[in-house]
Amino acid sequence: MTAEVTIDRITHRFGGFVALNDVNLTIGAGEFAVLLGPSGCGKTTLLSMIGGFLNPSEGRILIGGNDVTHLPPSARPTTTMFQDYALFPHMSLLDNVGFGLRMRGMSRPQRNARAEGLLELVGLPDAGSRKPHELSGGQRQRVALARALAVEPDVLLLDEPLGALDLKLRRQMQDELKAIQRRVGTTFIHVTHDQEEAMAIADVIIVMNGGEVQHAGVPEEIYLRPNNHFTAAFMGEANFIRGDVLQVSSKSVDIQTALGVHRFAVSVLNGAAIGTGQTVEICFRPEHVRLGANAGKSCDFGQVVVTDVAFFGTHHRCLLQLEATGDQKITAHLPQTLDLKDQSKLRLLVKPSDAIVLPLNGSSK
């Protein structure tokens, strides 16, 4: 079963500290949403609130259109997968998974059958009589998932469930979580600080910082056209070049920087209301950088010197030093087959359509 989740003007304070500041959000039914942000951004607080473990200072939470703000966890159509899994150590896996069904009054044979089915769904068939301490971390997590799904919740909340797993296992579990979510159709809300994980599994990513939503959208949008500096910097490496807007027309925008004047199509503004004279940042990713000896259809940011190279398998990660503004370092991902013989004629080139322009200290939306 599934439902839409609406966060309506939620604000929460712990004493004098504002953990969440006027958060407004809608997550569609059946979506796999990821709350993404650094420690202390409020994502776990928000998740606790949706689950019913915390009462917000202000605002409402609606699930499937119903106001559940003051309902205890047991009365909400949500279940939570905890970070430490919280499997009941004294019960068998079958009893663990069937616990919620038992609380709803289901008979033993029925709930055992249901539990067996779920254990099979998560990849642990015939393990029902084992106890949690006999399992590995990854296996315990699957059982926790099965237990949470057993009661057919509308919303499944996951609190950084993959943090304790090693990389390979984490990738595997990400795929499995996605597959299971597609299969059962429940709305999943997943909390993590790992942006790679977010992009791997999310239908929609909600980037949070300092108790506020920075940007909510599909992964492509969040990565390629972020709304603000924080989102751009958090979703991977990004380069920022500051400048002032010289003029804006319906087709193009000219920006003056310390590295010359550059023209972009007006679409790079992402729909933001930016006017002449405003200070902005030109933002582009390391993979958008091209080193070349000629200008042309690219923005030419001037002469650079490569100061550092590290081979990352798929690319070379290089640090470039701009000759014009000596202190700024640009991060670039350069091809696998890199030849840096003649450094004197290297120039920093970026296709205008690869870049976006962000207002300084503000948001495009």
């Binding site: 966890p73 047991s74 430490d84 709803r104 237990r147």
Partner: protein, 288 residues
């Protein structure tokens, strides 16, 4: 624990030298005395001499002497009552401290609960006499209010002994059960609530079963300490319904019958060992 380095002969000798003093002391002043006591239990006191009879008569004769058997029965009865009562009274207190009191006050609340632990054990039992004696606090209070006309016989009874014991072991068990409760991840209760269990069902199905090992350990400790105690029954129990330690002390003191005392002491130890084996077996079953 650290994995010690592998050993050559010189190092081994060095290591032994470190451990040797403690081993020697334990052997000399614990194992050997125990051996003496075991030997003594096989001898007899006849007249004013101790004859090395080397027989099991003291043990066989145990069941013949009714007041010995009664002593053991009293010991076991009282100890079981005390253990059960102490658990029932201590658990809610440990719960309240662990779950309902804010985190930074918990240590203070716990220390406060076990503070009287630190009165001298003898003095603590004596203090209960002040409360329970014929002219003690309780009686005078009840007389004053007018509930009773004559003072109740509270002190010098089995009840007084039980009260005195329960007072001590409630503090001990509060400590052990509290430690157990604190070890539990708070997510267990949250997960149970999340899945639809109310507070009572969460407690019955999740919290209580997870604290049973801690209760068992505390219960065994209570049993072993209570059944071997001489002081509290002697001060509070009066001279009726003696328990085994009192009988042992009688054999030592008044009758100077060390062989009998030794045999009784060994029987006491066997009872405690039996209970230990049962508890250990039970705990192992729980684990499996």
């Amino acid at each position: 624990m650290t994995t010690p380095a592998s050993m050559n002969k010189r190092e081994r000798r060095k290591a032994f030298a470190f451990v040797l003093p403690a081993i020697l002391w334990t052997v000399a002043f614990f194992v050997v005395p125990f051996g003496f006591m075991a030997a003594m239990s096989l001898w007899k006191r006849i007249g004013s001499k101790i004859i090395q009879t080397w027989s099991l008569d003291n043990y066989a004769g145990f069941f013949a002497k009714s007041h010995f058997v009664e002593g053991l029965a009293n010991s076991i009865e009282i100890t079981l009552i005390v253990t059960a009562l102490s658990i029932v009274l201590a658990y809610p207190l440990a719960w309240i401290i662990a779950m309902q009191i804010p985190e930074r006050w918990q240590r203070a609340a716990l220390l406060l609960a076990i503070l009287p632990f630190w009165t001298s054990y003898v003095v603590r039992s004596y203090a209960w006499m002040l409360v329970l004696a014929r002219n003690g606090l309780v009686n005078q209070g009840l007389l004053y209010i007018g509930i009773i006309d004559d003072p109740l016989e509270l002190g010098s009874t089995r009840t007084a002994t039980v009260i005195g014991f329960v007072h001590f072991f409630v503090m001990l068990l509060t400590l052990t059960i509290y430690a157990n409760l604190r070890q539990l991840s708070p997510n267990y209760a949250r997960a149970a609530a999340d899945l639809g269990a109310g507070p009572i069902r969460t407690f019955i199905h999740i919290i209580l079963p997870l604290t049973i090992p801690g209760i068992m350990v505390g219960a065994f400790l209570t049993f072993a300490l209570c059944i071997g105690d001489y002081i509290t029954p002697q001060i509070l129990g009066g001279n009726n319904e003696l328990v085994l330690p009192q009988i042992i002390m009688l054999q030592i003191g008044r009758r100077a019958d060390l062989p009998a005392a030794s045999a009784l002491a060994i029987i006491l130890m066997l009872v405690v060992s039996l209970v230990y084996v049962l508890c250990a077996r039970w705990l192992k079953l729980e684990r499996a």
